[in-house]
């Protein structure tokens, strides 16, 4: 019962903050709201028994990507107000797109019959750290190495891009 309450709490947190992040008039508010969403998703991971992912989520998203986004906001938000071109928000297309997406996915979920039991998970909720570690260094070794190369390339490329106009 405790887990169920936790799930609903986190689910409401995720849905609410995500919605606010989507519609908040100020981009800074949106960014911080998104941070709360990330925390909520980390909680969902914890409920699902993926302790490692929950921690990674907090570290990478909240610690890394959030900081990046906030920096982006701060660096680009220095245009004087009178020069800002305020285009009208167009709610209709946004709502149609979002609604259609949700309808499509929910419909698919409803009509799908899972080959696995829908109510009881197979695994037990022990720590996944060891399993993930083994997988990464055996079955997924090559993707893992490629990922490291990709990150290196991104590091160099982002640095090059970001200073491109500065000189």
């Amino acid at each position: 019962m405790g887990v169920q309450i936790a799930f609903w709490l986190f689910a409401i947190l995720v849905a609410g903050t995500a919605l606010y992040a989507a519609v908040a008039p100020k981009i800074v508010h949106a960014a911080f709201s998104l941070m709360a969403t990330f925390f909520g998703v980390a909680g969902i991971y914890a409920i699902l028994g993926s302790d490692f992912l929950a921690v990674t989520q907090v570290l990478v998203y909240v610690g890394g990507i959030m900081v990046l986004i906030v920096f982006g906001v701060l660096l680009t938000d220095r245009v004087p107000e009178e020069y800002k071109v305020v285009a009208p928000r167009r709610w209709l297309p946004a709502l149609i797109a979002g609604g259609l997406c949700f309808a499509a996915i929910a419909g698919a979920l409803k009509s799908t019959v899972w080959p696995i039991s829908s109510s009881t998970p197979l695994g037990d909720a022990t720590s996944t750290v060891e399993g993930i570690g083994r997988s990464l260094l055996t079955d997924y070794l090559i993707p893992f190495e490629f990922a490291s190369i990709l990150l290196l390339v991104v590091l160099v490329g982002a640095a090059r891009l970001a200073r491109g106009q500065v000189r």
Partner: protein, 673 residues
Amino acid sequence: MQTGIVLALVICAMPLLASLVISALGKNAGKWCDKVGIGAMFVSLAASVWLTLGHHEFIGQKWDFEWITVAGHPWRIGILLDGMTFALLIVVTLVSFLVHLFSRQYMHGDERFADFFRWIGFFTFSMLVLVISDNLLTLFVAWELMGLSSYKLIGHYFKKESAYLACKKAFMTTRVGDVGFFLALLALYLHTGSLQYSEIFEKAHAGVIPAVTITWISLGLFMGSMGKSAQFPLHIWLPDAMEGPTPVSALIHAATMVAAGVYLIGRMMSLICLSPVALVVIACIGAFTAIFAAAIAFTATDIKKVLAYSTISQLGFMFTALGVGSNIAWQAGMFHLVTHAFFKACLFLGSGSVIHACHHEQDMTRMGGLRKKLPLTHLTYLLACLSIAGFGIPMLPIGFAGFFSKDQILMGLWQGNGGANDDVYKTLCIVLTLTATMTSFYMFRSYWLTFWTKPRDQKIHDHAHESPWEMTTALLVLGGLAVVAGYGWANIFLPAGGEHGSLIEGLKEWEHEDVHHAHIMASIFAGFACFAGIGLSAWCYLTASGERARKAARAAISPIYNAAKRKFFMDELAETLVIRPTVVLGALLAWTDRDVVDGVVDSVGSSAVATGELSAKADDSVVDGAVHAAADVAWGGGWLFSRAQTGRLRNYFFGAVGTVALFAVIVLYLTRS
């Protein structure tokens, strides 16, 4: 890998490396290219000297690897070191090194200085690959690469019309010979299934190839040689090739590239000697070219043209010797190739030095009396002239390099090959003796006209000056070699038969005692030729009575003289017999195409037009109406859709996601259970 092979690879790789480095240097090449080129050639030369000094140890070493498998047949390519390879490696690297050194000053200030060094390095590389390869395939590749680099080098001053015409002519003319060469290669491969020397010879001697085919193959190979080594009638490109810079003439058109054809025939001797017909053809064409070119050289006044025709003539000597098909004649031909490389390179570089000194004046009739102004050039030119004239003491082994080789050629010819054609060879021996007389005459004519007699153009004479040390060093080394290269060279490097002579298996082997009589005859002929030629030219050009006699003689044979002056109309002949018919044939084909084929097509077309006009009437009213309506609809649609292209990211995103989601919903609705 054995030491000799490694050395050979180093020798080959250095000039290529230099060429690549110069290419890679880009804008800085002008400053460094001469140093890079000379340095690389020095390493190459050092390795070559090492190879030469240790030739007893390295001879016979071979190495090959499987390069590629085509249709189940493995192609093996590799390296073979034997006497011929050693002899040519040292010649090519030495001459090339000296030419590099010489060019550093001669080409100084040229706007395409770096290009010159790049291509001359590449050229040296191709020649070296040709020499060390153990099969006809790599030889052919190197052969063509040399054609390319000589094209680039002859056309060095391509802004001059004559230069670019000359390089085109050289390329096209040698290509004619290459057709024969290529056909011979195909035939060889067809019969023996290989292009490796050893395998070809083995199969040929085992009787795999029919006798007639051997003759045709030999003639095909010789056709390639005729192109590359400028034999009649494919010699027309070589005099024109003098449009290239003088060091190029020295390297390519005297010492190395033209030697490739001789090398090919010498290399394939074991095959060619199976066909007496091919041998006689080679000898006759060689002898004819020799005397023919010598006659033209009499009348040339451009110092480089004299040397060019002399080169053609001397190459004719070599082919005549190779055409005998006996061990001593083969040896003599290859030996003459080596000695000729030295003295002709010396002569060309000497002429380059003279031209440099006279501010690019090449006409001998405007020179004269330069011996005091250019003492070192004069000395080396004299040495080389004596060498080419075959100066020496008859019957005794004392003389200049050319003395030994020419002596041996005449001896080999007089001796023949013990077959049915010995009378022919004896006749050719007389012809060559006459040619040798002419050779010494016209070489000394150029010598007297340039360095002795009164200065005919005082202005040029006053401004003449000796060349810088790089140029004179190269001259002195080559001049020295023109003197001493005759001693022992043939016996050391070119042992025909014997222990390492397996490649020329099948040659007629003469013992030392057999040729005694021929040796005496050859000595008499060669001695006569040398002294008569030199004496006659001295009389004609240095004394007043001689000059009168010369002018009288010229008037007496004026038709022949004028014909020779016009190169015996060879260019006109080629123009009339080959080029113009080709152009006419082309025009004919074009006419056929235009008037006959096109006529048919056109008539079909015009009937179609008539039909078309008829249906156009119907078109205008009925069909066009529909088409216009369709176009209007398309235009309207286009206008509508172009409104959607707002360029706004959000709209595109909405379009993409919304469409996908919409379709997903529709599909789900339709497939609901």
